[in-house]
């Protein structure tokens, strides 16, 4: 029963309420880093990792600190995220300099990815336990990676076709994202089917 619950949290965060395509979170990296599949995938993995650590930290903050000082919520979450990203950056630099170079500027930019702060806030408002929070973080991260990789795949194909000059760039990316989001709306039926 618990296992099933966790799987639904994962699927819900990954497909049905995909962070990027139905909550519009993390649009900046979604538009900025989605021109190559390989970079998109690596950034996705780094984001999943940061999300999992953030989820753990948010659970601890919710349990021990925030009951005493609820007004510190936003500030404490953002400080935790910023230091986690800094920490991850140092670890990756030490363990795998090659990966560090490949990720480049995108690694520090994870701090300003709103999907991560939103993860901590949603987890708090839904009152998830530690384990549920982890499933939620993994689902949200995988959903973000999936959307990023799909978008990168489409954009790699688009480079080979001729596009009218006026629609090139962000306008076209937005319209493609709209179509992707339309496709993801189909997953909404999953929940009612299961119930």
């Amino acid at each position: 029963m618990i296992m099933r619950d966790l799987i639904w949290i994962f699927v819900g965060a990954c497909l049905i309420n995909n962070f990027t395509l139905s909550y519009f979170l993390g649009i900046c990296p979604f538009m900025g880093v989605s021109s190559r599949i390989s970079t998109a995938f690596r950034l996705g993995l780094a984001t999943i990792f940061v999300m999992v650590i953030t989820s753990l930290c948010a659970s601890f903050l919710n349990a021990f600190i925030l009951p005493h000082a609820p007004y510190l919520q936003v500030i404490s979450f953002i400080v935790v995220i910023a230091s986690t990203v800094q920490f991850v950056e140092m670890v990756i630099k030490k363990l795998s300099p090659a990966l560090f170079r490949a990720l480049g500027i995108f690694l520090p930019l994870i701090t300003t990815n709103c999907a991560i702060l939103a993860l901590a806030l949603f987890q708090t408002s839904k009152e998830y336990t530690l384990i549920q929070g982890l499933a939620f973080a993994l689902g949200a991260g995988s959903g973000f990676t999936l959307a990023l990789v799909l978008m990168a795949g489409l954009r790699e194909e688009l480079e080979l076709s001729t596009i009218p000059g006026v629609i090139k760039g962000t306008a076209l990316n937005m319209i493609i994202a709209g179509l992707l989001s339309l496709a993801f709306m189909g997953f909404a039926g999953l929940f009612s089917g299961a119930a």
Binding site: C28, Q73, I75, C114, A171
Partner: protein, 242 residues
């Protein structure tokens, strides 16, 4: 984007180091006006997309979001600008984020007390103003290099530009998606609402369309200017030859 000058949004804005001396009203006006149209944060710099798309399914939400963002942007700009010579360069981003987060908490609590319904509609997106790249971008590119008065002018201009963009998208989506504007029915009883417009895909599609119109307008203007320049040059050559 059509405008090649916008390729690096963080470097937009004046670069002058602030010195002493009096306030120049012309410059105040320039800093204020650029955010509304010429360097509009959404349409030209393409920043702040997340709140832009997420809260614009009705015009009221768009206005509330615009007002909350304006409050945070103006007050953090004042503080960053006042503290600009005390903030060490290495930790400046974290400092800005903590200043911004403080004002976001204030805005969040004020909105919750004054307009609980709107606060519920906007949900987590008020707290997410912290990671709105427009705000951090203005602190880094402008407020940390300029005097408080100019920083306020710049912040107010950018806020109006952002609110204008939010309202454009919010009003269009509400009219097409529910047939109303600020909850007043305006499309008549025979109107069949495009429900897709108030759902997530509608946000992406509509913003894509608006950016398309902006690109098209920019290109047409550039072409016309190019042609006018060409004619002027040709006329000058003819004139010098005769």
């Amino acid at each position: 984007m059509a405008d090649s000058g916008s390729s690096n949004p963080l470097m937009l804005g004046s670069q002058q180091q602030a010195g002493g001396g009096s306030v120049d009203p012309d410059r105040m006006y320039r800093e204020f006006a650029k955010g509304i149209w010429k360097e509009n944060p959404v349409f030209v710099q393409v920043l702040g997309m997340c709140p832009m798309l997420a809260v614009t399914n009705s015009a009221i939400n768009a206005v509330a979001m615009g007002a909350a963002t304006a409050f945070v942007l103006v007050f953090s700009s004042i503080f960053v600008s006042l503290l600009r010579s005390f903030i060490p360069k290495q930790v400046r981003i974290s400092t800005y984020i903590i200043i911004i987060a403080t004002f976001v908490t204030v805005a969040d609590m004020a909105l919750k007390a004054a307009f609980p319904v709107v606060h519920k509609d906007l949900g987590a997106f008020i707290s997410l103003i912290v990671v709105n790249c427009i705000i951090l971008g203005r602190q880094e590119a402008f407020a940390s290099r300029n005097r408080p008065l100019y920083a306020v002018a710049d912040a107010i201009g950018m806020s109006i530009g952002f609110a204008f963009a939010l309202l454009c998208l919010g009003a269009t989506r509400e009219i097409l998606g529910s047939g109303t504007l600020f909850k007043y029915p305006i499309m008549g009883s025979n109107f069949q609402p495009w429900v897709i417009m108030i759902l997530p895909p509608g946000g992406f599609l509509m913003l894509g369309m608006i950016l398309l119109v902006f690109n098209w307008a920019g290109q047409t203007r550039a072409k016309r200017r190019h042609r006018a320049d060409g004619e002027a040059n040709a006329g000058g050559e003819v004139g010098s030859a005769s």
